[in-house]
């Protein structure tokens, strides 16, 4: 039987949310080597025309990959990530005091016996920040 049996296009497979604060962005800058000051320093972000410090797009995309892999592990899917993409539509703005909340909803976009494509809607502050992310899991 297919590892993706029981899943149909349109099914919501998970919803989740993450909180993001400045310390998370500092840790991500260290880990990724992306030290662009718009992700770390309020004055630099504002000088670049942004409302405040913004998360690295790749940080947000990384959180999506984490959510997908955690869901696949919980669902005990014997599958690997084969493709993963996103367009960075709007920034995730991260104020120093409150941080930001990133909400995700993953739906099945396509499914057959060997592969499952998810479309993950990602929102922060009411904006769609990724437009959308897509992840394809391939049966092992």
């Amino acid at each position: 039987m297919s590892v993706f049996a029981g899943l149909s296009a349109g099914d919501v497979v998970f919803t989740t949310e993450f909180t993001v604060d400045r310390a998370d962005l500092t840790a991500y800058a260290e880990a990724s080597g992306d030290h662009n000051p718009i992700h770390l320093d309020e004055a630099a972000a504002k000088a670049a025309g942004l409302p405040n410090v913004i998360a690295h797009g790749m940080y947000t995309m990384g959180l999506v990959s984490r959510a997908v892999l955690e869901w696949a592990a919980e669902a005990e899917l014997d599958a690997s990530l084969g493709a993963f993409s996103a367009r960075f539509a709007k920034p995730v703005v991260v104020p120093a005091d409150s941080g930001a909340v990133v909400e995700m909803e993953a739906k099945v976009r396509k499914v057959d016996a060997d592969s499952l494509e998810l479309a993950i809607a990602v929102l922060s502050g009411g904006d769609k920040v990724l437009a959308p992310a897509r992840a394809t899991l391939t049966a092992n």
Partner: protein, 132 residues
């Protein structure tokens, strides 16, 4: 404006480098992921962007990195990479599109290990046009 004569050009392949366990752990922790030896899906960006440095630093190419925003990102994974694997990167300028005075620069990086192509990484950068 970017030098469109670079479209189709590839940078020299980087020397094989070991994916260190320490770098994988740090990346996984920064995303709150459980730390295994498996490379997190987006970890590859920490290899592919530095591989593009010679292009960013090439005055003939004309890229002002202070005007760059990350627009799109795509990964295709052909094999699971793990800490300890040795990989090389080959960056190719796939396209440059000019839209309303701004450039969209599409780069593809082939990530290869001893067995061949392990992953492909596409990065599209939005480069804001100059004051002119």
């Amino acid at each position: 404006m970017l030098n469109t004569s670079y479209v189709g050009r590839s940078l020299p392949t980087t020397a094989p480098a070991v994916i260190t366990a320490e770098s994988v752990t740090r990346f996984a922790r920064a995303l709150g992921m459980s730390d295994t030896d498996a490379v997190p899906p987006t970890y590859l960006i920490s290899l592919t962007l530095p591989a593009a440095d010679p292009l960013i630093e090439d005055p003939d190419f004309g890229l002002d990195f202070s005007k760059v925003l990350h627009r799109e990102q795509r990964f295709a994974y052909h094999r699971e990479l793990r800490a300890g694997d040795r990989v090389s990167c080959t960056v190719t300028v796939e396209s440059i599109k000019t839209v309303s005075g701004n450039d969209l620069l599409a780069l593809r990086t082939d990530v290869t290990d001893e067995e061949g192509l392990a992953a492909e990484v596409w990065t599209t950068l939005f480069v804001a046009g100059g004051e002119a």
